[in-house]
Symmetry: D2
Subunit: 137 residues, 4 copies
Amino acid sequence: MAGLERISMTIEKDLIEKFDEMRTRNNLPNRSEAFRDLIRQRLVEEEWEQNSIESVATVTLVYDHHKKEISDKLVTEAHHHHGMVMASMHIHLDAHNCLEVIALKGMPEELREFGEHLIGIKGVLHGKFVMGPPFSK
Amino acid sequence: MAGLERISMTIEKDLIEKFDEMRTRNNLPNRSEAFRDLIRQRLVEEEWEQNSIESVATVTLVYDHHKKEISDKLVTEAHHHHGMVMASMHIHLDAHNCLEVIALKGMPEELREFGEHLIGIKGVLHGKFVMGPPFSK
Amino acid sequence: MAGLERISMTIEKDLIEKFDEMRTRNNLPNRSEAFRDLIRQRLVEEEWEQNSIESVATVTLVYDHHKKEISDKLVTEAHHHHGMVMASMHIHLDAHNCLEVIALKGMPEELREFGEHLIGIKGVLHGKFVMGPPFSK
Amino acid sequence: MAGLERISMTIEKDLIEKFDEMRTRNNLPNRSEAFRDLIRQRLVEEEWEQNSIESVATVTLVYDHHKKEISDKLVTEAHHHHGMVMASMHIHLDAHNCLEVIALKGMPEELREFGEHLIGIKGVLHGKFVMGPPFSK
């Protein structure tokens, strides 16, 4: 393990308060250690994306199907990138809301770009891109 | 096994010829036996539908996503029947064609009615309803 | 339309009785016409399988997951044929029973062979193979 | 916006170096701002989990199906929690690796607990839990 370095930063008062409350709830007494965990998690995902090896990813979307013909937009997008989209699963949560999970394969950079694009479609209430490991077909 | 009965029927010449060719390809030398198999298969499905017990079913659809906003129609239909639709899976076959499999649960009669309705949506190239057995949630 | 031919066959008494009851329930007054429908349906599927063009198919399975490690068998089978298996969807119907739908692509003959093989795995309570149309990736 | 606070912490030298390199690649010149983003993301997920409202979540898993009968373990786990598991999708990436996405609904706390448990199953190469928003069935 390399030596430790002392760094400092400015942060909004209410943000650091909420962070400290979260640490208490989650039993993370050491603030520096909690910060280091956040950084490590971020770097792991970053590392995979540095590789130029075909990888998998999933995109989780929640949207209201009444709004703006999102289903058609998603299908159209998926077909324009149909080499990247392996399959998707759709669950009708209630009379309004859909959960859709889309499984992708491709180069890490294009996966993230396409994933972020899907999440950004107007009417999507919630979206999350999950980068997976490389694989060898 | 009950006694045999001799029945007769009229059938188009080319249809019975194709049926006989099919029997040859599939190694089914006995024409009566081949007919009886068709009837038995039909009756098994029928039997499940006679039950008034909650059952499962799947609908397999192939359609061209460019045509007539079918994806939106399917999602809208599914939400109107969201108690019946458990989940669906969508695969982009090529730049045009989609394969969609929809898993349903409900009373046999309403399952078939909804399944046939989905298959009948304008633009669906191919559809098949598969009745499954009853289950107890 | 070609000319009509009169054919006759032998059939178990109780089978033809059930068939006639089914026709009554389904409003199919003409017995010959009901037979011709069964034959036509069978021939359509047969026709697709005659083609040597890459096609899609789905397999619907219901099984009790407690029995005989079926899930592992299915996954192992799917990996041995992973060029053929596009994706599968799994729904837990209750504490015992699973619904699994498997989407396949490949040559019609190998699709049916693999589909029938899956349905025949010991412990599968119900299975149905659905042949789909050819597609061009 | 509340006032700013200056905080300091200790961090491994190589970790902060990698973090700075990542910021450069991603065009995030301000180190404090990059930290604040990490914190905010963490808090948003946390917030949803504070709610005691039925919510959705997905779990993305990558595993080698040859190892340790993971498929059977996953199916068994899913059935033990079948009120929580809505459906799952399985894709065979290559002769060894599977991608599985599992859609869950339930109380936020139990969702995370079950999700972390699945990710922790021996043989899982990669797993990620994504908390979704509350919904009203």
